[in-house]
């Protein structure tokens, strides 16, 4: 009776602790399983007892180096050994285990006892820290404090691990490939990142580049050549300028995305494609679909996740950061010690339209590096066409001011007053001049000066 009470107390104690505890006999059959063990493994106690411990715990070391078995055989305890188990939901749970032998009253080894602690929370924190580091590393080339870009960067890790097809839209030079590379790196996939510019190759060549060809497929095919899909197996294929591919190739691409299978030129059987596709375009694909120039079904297949990158003109706040970045980059590449750009140069770069976006800005800085011998990039180091365009713009503005100077701030108020009185007097110049207390010639002169008309 007394022993029964002691056992019940022991059960209560073991069920109260947060660590999982179980015991096994010499045949690895579970003889005790506490409440925390149920919670961590997801296996009810009544089903666990009597089972082989490896069929319940399903730890990664069960089949190769079982710690409990080693403890029972060698008598040595293990403490805080990090392993992982598969819980009943198919989820991998990191745990730390400690083992020791179980002896009867005579000191004979009758089995083993294992305690284990769920490390999920710690591991989640560790991963979060590691992952944020990865984001910083993998998107290190993406420099921006623009809110649109920041929003994209925030969702980038989720997009990366989703393995979904991504469509990146944005004008030429806005950094589409940088985002594609960042997605690939963050996705943790094993395969390679392979990029191809669909607009750079003629249709027939693009097809053989994408899908590869078999020996004898055409007269010059002297050996099998794997395509970009094969090279990107298990990885990412970046299809730049997707809006430029022909309808025939669109149909073939659609088949690869739908069926996960393609046929190299000259092949008699299809090949499986386990490739994540990231497509990019500087065109309005939805608009092309409406015009019938792009297949709607392919567009919807590609458009699972859409990232729209703004042009640099919509993120001018990034220009100084980008200039700084490119100066550091070219200092390292070209072995120079340029510290920055002059205020005038920065003004020009900030006001220039930069239709080529970030790529154009990078080229401007690279050009300036060629000419700059000092520590500061001056206006004279900028490309001539940029200097000329700035000069032209200044002249145009000045000319525009000469033709239609517009009322100065005080003049604007004066013009508004004249117009108001003209309206009240039904457009009569004489009554308006009298009301304003000025000569009608003065009124005429002021109306001409401020461009005021009333009919």
């Amino acid at each position: 009776m007394k022993k029964l009470i002691v056992n019940r107390q022991l059960d209560i104690i073991l069920d109260s602790i947060a660590d999982g505890v179980f015991t096994i006999d010499s045949d690895s059959n579970i003889t005790y399983f506490n409440r925390a063990a149920e919670k961590i493994t997801g296996v009810p106690r009544k089903l666990a007892i009597g089972q082989k411990c490896f069929d319940v715990l399903r730890a990664n070391i069960c089949q190769t180096s079982c710690a409990l078995k080693a403890t029972i055989e060698g008598g040595e305890s293990r403490i805080n050994l990090p392993v992982n188990i598969l819980n009943s939901d198919g989820k991998t749970i990191p745990i730390s285990i400690s083992t020791s032998v179980l002896r009867d009253e005579q000191g004979k080894i009758v089995g083993g006892v294992e305690t284990f602690r769920d490390l999920s929370a710690i591991e989640t924190l560790r991963k979060a820290l590691r992952f944020s580091g990865r984001i910083r590393n993998h998107s290190a080339d993406i420099i921006s404090k623009n809110h649109e870009i920041q929003q994209i960067l925030n969702i980038l890790p989720d997009v990366a691990i989703s393995n979904s097809t991504v469509l990146i839209e944005g004008p030429s030079g806005s950094g589409k490939e940088l985002f594609a590379k960042a997605i690939h790196k963050l996705s943790r996939c094993q395969g390679a990142y392979v990029a191809i510019n669909c607009a750079a190759l003629p249709d027939s060549l693009l097809e053989s580049e994408l899908f590869g060809y078999m020996k004898g497929a055409f007269s010059d095919a002297k050996a099998d050549k794997p395509g970009r899909f094969a090279r990107a197996e298990g990885g990412t294929l970046f299809l730049d300028e997707i809006g430029d591919i022909s309808p025939a190739l669109q149909a073939k691409l659609l088949r690869v995305i739908q069926e996960k299978e393609y046929e190299p030129l000259g092949a008699t059987a299809g090949q499986k494609a386990n490739v994540r596709i990231i497509a990019a375009t500087n065109k309005d694909l939805a608009g092309l679909v409406k015009l019938g120039a792009f297949r709607g079904d392919l567009f919807y297949r590609l458009n699972v996740v859409r990232l729209s990158l703004p042009p640099l003109s919509r993120r001018r706040e990034d220009i100084p950061l980008l200039i700084e970045h490119f100066i550091s980059k070219f200092n390292a590449i070209k072995g120079k010690e340029i510290e920055g750009v002059s205020d005038d140069t920065l003004d020009i770069l900030m006001t220039h339209d930069l239709p080529g976006n970030i790529r154009e800005l990078e080229n401007i800085i690279e050009y300036a590096f060629v000419l700059c011998r000092g520590h500061l990039i001056e206006v004279r180091h900028l490309p001539r066409e940029l200097q000329e365009s700035v000069l032209r713009k200044t002249h145009q503005e000045a000319a525009a001011n000469r033709i239609s100077p517009g009322p100065p701030p005080l003049g604007a108020a004066e013009a508004a007053a004249i117009l108001d009185v003209l309206r009240k007097n039904g457009g009569s110049r004489i009554r308006t001049a009298m009301a304003l207390g000025i000569d009608k010639t003065t009124l005429w002169r002021k109306m001409k000066k401020f461009g005021v008309t009333y009919r």
């Binding site: 296996v43 089903l47 490896f54 069960c62 089949q63 939901d89 989820k91």
Partner: protein, 131 residues
């Protein structure tokens, strides 16, 4: 002829597909075992094990515990899976041949304790859900 794969641990089904060291491949025709042989998969990562199933032309996978990612991957590639089984491999094989197993590839449930309800036959030690 169909080919089934069973990750094994000695004479038992491997408790974890992603950590299995050996794979038993069985050729079956007209409800009979035509050939069976083992291959080593100890150096393969989880995703490589998944791909091996396809590369070897496996029609069905019979396994113990399986992680969600592998389950989804195999489901995506239309490979029927009988999972969360325990016990002696030959008993499970017999059970499969007599139609006692139910594939859970298309089932919403992934966990072993849900699968127990789907298990239709076999010896008591094959699956503790039968207890």
């Amino acid at each position: 002829m169909m080919k089934i794969a069973i990750p094994v641990f000695n004479s038992r089904i491997s408790p974890r597909f992603d950590c299995a060291q050996e794979m038993l491949l069985v050729d079956i025709a007209d409800g009979k075992i035509m050939a069976q042989w083992k291959i080593s998969i100890n150096k393969l990562s989880s995703i490589e094990k998944n791909r091996t199933m396809l590369n070897l032309g496996v029609d069905t996978l019979i396994c113990g515990g399986i992680d969600r990612h592998s389950m989804q991957w195999l489901k995506y590639h239309d490979l029927p899976v009988y999972a969360w089984l325990t016990g002696d491999v030959q008993d499970i094989l017999t059970c499969f041949l007599t139609g006692g197993l139910t594939s859970i590839t298309n089932a919403e449930a992934t966990g072993q304790w849900c699968q127990h309800r789907r298990f239709k036959g076999g010896k008591q030690n094959i699956n503790r859900g039968r207890r």
